[in-house]
Amino acid sequence: MLRIKGLTKRYRTGDLALKGIDIEVPDGQIMALIGPSGAGKSTVIRCINRLVEPTSGSIALNDVDITRLGNAELRRARRRMGMIFQEYALVERLSVMENVLTGRLGYVGFWQSWFRRFPQSDIDEAFRLLERVGLDHMADKRADELSGGQRQRVGICRALIQNPELLLVDEPTASLDPKTSRQIMRLIKELCTERKLSAIINIHDVMLAQMFAERIVGLRLGEIVYDGPPDKLTPAVLTSIYGEEDWSATIRKVEEDASEDEADNVVLFEVPRPDRDRMAGLT
């Protein structure tokens, strides 16, 4: 359970990015955070794992107030929060495997990580995750050799190998094509359900948010202007979040998408391995 109370952030430039935000995310809930650029979505997520220091307010993960932790305790708290980034943020010159194992750095000692001598259980888990997203044959490829969708899947593995209770997801689909975007969002949702994770997903694409989130929070100028289920997002609500615009094409048509979802599910990932393709009935 994540409890955010009165979260305020004022940047050194004087900009008030967040004006006292209150959010509670129960275990296992997938919450989408929508809002225009500059509304403070990224700031909310980064305050939770303190990549950005909050100015005031409290953030409690399982009743531990993260805003009061010292350095060592903060590191321990960060281990339980996996983060998935916009533009993937993989270390490009490290291999896929090294990038995934980066998620274990909080659990191993310095020399262990320096010599890349991770415990066998970590290696097993890394391969299991890579296999789950269809990239285990790429383990020794350098991250910059991968396509956008593949990179984001590696990013997801890196977050999950931390064994997190909470996923912080920052614009996961910002530089992906529409099809890959859906696959990535579906993967995140499936993995959250499998592992009973809660997730906060910052996302620009309102339709994707409606398709994959159970709850939507709309942010505007650092304030919450909507908090409710996806199907209550009316043109009036969207106008209150983003401003005046013709929203008729954005609102999800529930039945159409549902049938399309099933069709998409058959070809979840294009895995370039013949035995897998055969299993999926593709060859």
């Binding site: 590191r75 321990r76 270390v91 490290l94 750095l105 909080g106 990580s113 320096w114």
Partner: protein, 269 residues
């Protein structure tokens, strides 16, 4: 286009680098005047130049044929001393410049550390190798040790500054991602920063090896040991053909280092 009847054709020119026409012309004219004055006042005695030509030719002729044999022992000793200086000073210099360079990167180091390390780099960079060599020869006496200290010191300034700048240019998103996993500071450096700067730093290390060998030949002349000292002795004894041999050996080794390091750098990228 018929739509634009009546509208004047709009002209466009690239805006000048210096906006104010007055300043632009003043700068241009004063540059020309200054160059004219410089040429006017450079004292060249053409008669003496003419007289000196045959003497210069005789001097150059004395280099031929290069004599590798009579001073071969000294040449080998000088070269091996220079190579020793180069290798050791490059390794020691880089080893010291890594912590200094990390401390001098603004996006990593806290302000006091940053200013201290920047000061170290500034001091190291403000003296040319020859000046340092003269100073260290006075401090430690003639010989390769003074040369080694000189080159190590100069390497710190060079390598530390470029390392600091390269760290400042790294992609913060990649480093942030490593930090968000709960990595310690050293793990964060090792996983988030080092991979981003490594290829360039290997290349620069090889480049510095090059420079250090060339400098080792120069600082020998002021007493820093190595092949430079051998060369200086040959000139002092008017053994120009031996000097020619030494110069050819230096050129050969420098070219070898340069091609070698160039090849390795391409391979690292």
């Amino acid at each position: 286009m018929s739509m634009n009847v009546g509208a004047l054709p709009r002209t466009w020119r690239k805006p000048p680098l210096i906006k104010s026409a007055w300043l632009r012309w003043t700068l241009g004219v004063s540059l020309v005047v200054y160059l004219a004055l410089v040429f006017e006042t450079t004292p060249v005695n053409w008669a003496r130049v003419w007289e000196g030509l045959p003497r210069g030719a005789a001097f150059l002729a004395a280099f031929f044929p290069p004599d590798f044999v009579s001073r071969w022992q000294e040449i080998v000793e000088g070269i091996s001393e220079s190579l020793w200086m180069t290798v050791v000073s490059t390794v020691v210099g880089i080893a010291i410049s890594i912590p200094v360079g990390i401390g001098a990167a603004k996006n990593i180091a806290p302000a006091p550390v940053y200013y201290f390390c920047r000061a170290v780099l500034a001091v190291s960079r403000s003296f040319q190798e020859i000046i340092l060599a003269i100073f260290f020869v006075k401090l430690f006496g003639f010989g390769p040790f003074a040369g080694f200290v000189t080159l190590s010191f100069a390497t710190i300034g060079f390598y530390g500054k470029l390392l600091a700048e390269d760290i400042e240019d790294t992609d913060p998103a990649q480093a942030e991602a490593v930090r968000s996993s709960g990595a310690s500071w050293l793990q964060w450096l090792n996983y988030g920063v080092q991979p981003q700067v490594m290829p360039r730093m290997i290349g620069l290390g090889l480049y510095r090896f090059d420079i250090n060998f060339r400098e080792s030949a120069v600082i020998g002349i002021v007493g820093g040991g190595g092949i430079g000292a051998t060369l200086n002795t040959a000139f002092d004894r008017y053994e120009f053909s031996s000097a020619a041999a030494i110069i050819i050996v230096i050129i050969g080794i420098v070219m070898f280092c340069e091609y070698g390091s160039g090849y390795l750098r391409r391979w690292v990228q």
